[in-house]
Amino acid sequence: MNKFSPLCHVDDLENDCTKGFLENENGQDAIFIVKKNGELYGWKNACPHVQGAPMAWRKDQYLNTQKTHLTCFAHGALFDPTTGLCIQGPCLGKTLEKVELFVSSEGIVSFLDLNNKNKES
């Protein structure tokens, strides 16, 4: 069975902010969530320019200063936070890989963890 892995409570996320999850030992998140106009959007922390390249400039920092766009701080590529489409930068026209999020009635945010396939739930 696929597993829904809990990440945080919906109240842990602030509007116009980003938060990363599933940090590896290099201090890099596997995925991150951006909250925009009260909606949550999940994305893989992997710039489409260089396969798998981490995007933040510091832990949890994925937005430009104006908080209008997700940014890959490798080369400054800008992405629409709701669609993941790159509108400026070396990967112009490409999109971030979406992470499906689920919010329970208790407000627990989880995602479909395909890596946990066949593991005990």
């Binding site: 510091r58 701080f73 080369h75 800008l78 400026q88 070396p90």
Partner: protein, 317 residues
């Protein structure tokens, strides 16, 4: 016309405090820094200047979100500055600024400045490896690593790497107009360039790229050696900064490297132990690729040690 190297890179940014924290955590020393910007220096006085994006005194950005607004190179003497002024004035605007430096643009549109070198002479010795019988060893009882060392400092501004839309034209400007030499080249990518007043493998590296990518790929400072580079990089990661590539050792230039994302829309590198070349050096041409880019590549890991508390499978998955 003797350019001796890079002395300052100027960025226009919106979030001065975050960028200031980033540069300080990297190891640069803040000098007269306020919420409006300021200077961040390596030990020899070379450095980075932060200013507000909208600061009218800054040359325009090349676009594409590039925050780098100007590089300033040092020259040997007033004669070199005068020669550069005369050379560049042949076909472009050159301005003499209040501090005596001159400002113009290269053939890619990047703003460039030249000043009589302000680089401080520092009498530091780079990292030394002990070897029985070697005449070059650390003094007796001097330790090779200090885990309690305070903030590790970059020694000197090293190089900048540009994405340029016309790499031949960009190279010709630095070679034919400014007197740089090509020391090595990545085939179909671009040249490593050394100014005539320096022996360092490169202060500039040019990468051919589509016009919508024009900007900076990275900039970097020299550290005293691989130990301080890796110690500083490991601490940088612990502060939450994000490694992109490294640590490892390049082949062309032999410099140790560790690249990180930065709030400047480009990478920042920590480098150490770059090769020196003079005019007797014959440039190599190397195909681009993983094997040609580095002698070896490593990745940061959490510290662990084998012992009584080690899990039954060690530290391995």
């Amino acid at each position: 016309m003797k350019v001796v190297g890079l002395e300052t890179i100027i960025f226009g940014v919106d979030d001065i405090p975050s960028c200031a924290t980033f540069l300080t955590d990297y190891g640069l020393i803040p000098v007269d820094v306020t919420d409006e910007g300021g200077r961040f220096e390596a030990l020899d006085g070379t450095g980075v200047v932060l200013a507000k994006t909208e600061d009218p005194s800054l040359p325009a950005s090349v676009g594409n979100g590039c925050m780098m607004r100007k590089t300033i190179m040092g020259v040997a003497d007033q004669q070199s500055l005068d020669d550069l002024y005369a050379e560049l004035s042949k076909d472009r605007a050159v301005e003499t600024l209040a501090d005596g430096s001159i400002e113009s643009h290269d053939d890619s549109g990047f703003a460039i400045g030249f000043q009589i070198s302000k680089k401080k002479q520092i009498n530091l010795v780079g990292e030394i490896s002990n070897l029985p019988g070697s005449p070059f060893q650390r003094p007796v009882n001097q330790l090779g690593v200090d885990v309690d060392a305070e903030q590790i400092r970059p020694i000197s501004l090293s190089h900048i790497v540009y994405f340029v839309p016309d790499v031949k034209k960009a190279e010709a400007f630095y070679v034919e107009r400014l007197g740089f030499r090509c020391t090595d080249r990545f085939e179909d990518i671009g040249p490593f360039l050394q100014p005539s007043g320096s022996l360092e493998h490169h202060t500039h590296f040019l990468i051919g790229a589509p016009p919508f990518m024009q900007g900076v790929e990275h900039f970097t400072f020299h550290f005293s050696g691989p130990t301080e580079l890796m110690q500083n990089g490991e601490r940088f990661i612990k502060k939450g900064y994000q490694a992109f590539w490294g640590p490892g050792r390049h082949i062309l230039g032999s410099n140790w490297f560790w690249y990180f994302n930065s709030p400047f829309a480009c990478h920042i590198e920590m480098d150490a132990d770059m090769d020196l070349h003079d005019k007797n050096w014959t440039p190599r041409v190397s195909p681009m690729g993983a094997d040609a880019s580095q002698a070896f590549l490593m990745r940061n890991r959490e510290k662990w040690a084998p012992g009584a508390d080690t899990p039954h499978n060690g530290d391995y998955e």
